[in-house]
C-alpha cells in the first residue's frame, strides 16, 4: 500500500509515475474498456494489485524468510537488520520478476501496440515496453531504476514490519 501510493507521487521528484493500479486494470479490463472508464480501471486494478502485494508478502513470511534463514547462514539470526535484509532480497527478486517478465511480457503485449502505433490511434513512440524494462514508452532505462526504487520501498516496509521472534525470546513489545 505504501509503495503503491508512493509510486503515484513519483512525478513530484521528476520520476515517471508508477501507477500499478491502472496497469493491472488494463490487464483485467482490456485497453478499450479501460480508456472508456479510467476510474473503474484504477479501482479494479488497485484491488488486484493490493491482493498481489498481500500474496507476495505471505509467500515471503511463510516460505522465503524461513528458507533464507536455513540456506544462508549469515541470515540465520532473527534480528531486525537481518529481517530487513531478507525483505530487501525479496523486493529485489520481485523487481527482477517485474522488469524481466511482468512488464515486457504482459504490459508490453497490451500497451505496446498503443504506444508504438501511428497517431491518432497510437502515440507514435519508438518503444513500447523493452526487454528488462530498458525502455517504457517515452522513458529509457530510468524506468528500470524507478521500478527498483519502487520495489525497495516495498522491501523495506516488508522487512521492517515482518519481525518474527524465536519462542525463547524475552522481548515482548
Amino acid at each position: 500500500m505504501v509503495a503503491t501510493v508512493t509510486g503515484l507521487w513519483f512525478p513530484g521528484v521528476k520520476l515517471p509515475q508508477f501507477d500499478f493500479n491502472t496497469l493491472n486494470g488494463y490487464l483485467a479490463l482490456g485497453l478499450t474498456n479501460s480508456f472508456a472508464d479510467p476510474v473503474r480501471t484504477f479501482v479494479i486494478g488497485g484491488t488486484i494489485h493490493m491482493i498481489d502485494g498481500i500474496i507476495w508478502a505471505l509467500i515471503f513470511g511463510l516460505i522465503i524468510s524461513p528458507t533464507l534463514g536455513v540456506v544462508v547462514k549469515p541470515l540465520r539470526p532473527m534480528t531486525p537488520t537481518v529481517n530487513l535484509i531478507k525483505g530487501l532480497i525479496w523486493g529485489g527478486t520481485l523487481w527482477i520478476i517485474s522488469s524481466a517478465l511482468w512488464m515486457p511480457l504482459l504490459i508490453g503485449a497490451i500497451l505496446g501496440p498503443a504506444l508504438t502505433g501511428a497517431p491518432p490511434a497510437g502515440f507514435g513512440l519508438a518503444c513500447g515496453v523493452g526487454p528488462f524494462l530498458t525502455c517504457f514508452g517515452p522513458y529509457g532505462v530510468q524506468a528500470l531504476f524507478t521500478n527498483l526504487f519502487w520495489h525497495m520501498i516495498w522491501g523495506v516496509n516488508l522487512g521492517l514490519l515482518f519481525n518474527p521472534m524465536r519462542l525463547g525470546s524475552k522481548v515482548r513489545w
Binding site: 521528484v13 521528476k14 515517471p16 509515475q17 529481517n83 517515452p138 527498483l148 526504487f149
Partner: protein, 73 residues
C-alpha cells in the same frame, strides 16, 4: 556497531548526492502532466539515489530497533 553505522550513513549520503545530481541533470520542473521531464541519466540517478536513501533509512531504523531490544532483554 560503529562501522555499520558509518556504512549506513555513507549509503544515505551517497543516495542524497545521486538524487540531487539527478535533479539538476533533469531539465524542467517536476510535473504530474504525462510524460513530464525526460532525461535518462538524470532520472536514473534520482531513482537510484532515492533507492539508496530508502534502504539506508531502513537499515538505520532496524539498527535502532536492535539497540532498543538489547536494552529490554
Amino acid at each position: 556497531m560503529m562501522r555499520s553505522l558509518m556504512i549506513y550513513l555513507g549509503l544515505l549520503i551517497l543516495g542524497i548526492i545521486f538524487a540531487v545530481a539527478g535533479w539538476f541533470l533533469t531539465p524542467g520542473a517536476a510535473s504530474f502532466q504525462f510524460p513530464g521531464p525526460i532525461n535518462e541519466g538524470g532520472q536514473s540517478l534520482i531513482a537510484l539515489g532515492l533507492a539508496f536513501v530508502v534502504v539506508a533509512v531502513g537499515l538505520l531504523l532496524a539498527g535502532a530497533q536492535e539497540r532498543m531490544m538489547a536494552g529490554t532483554e
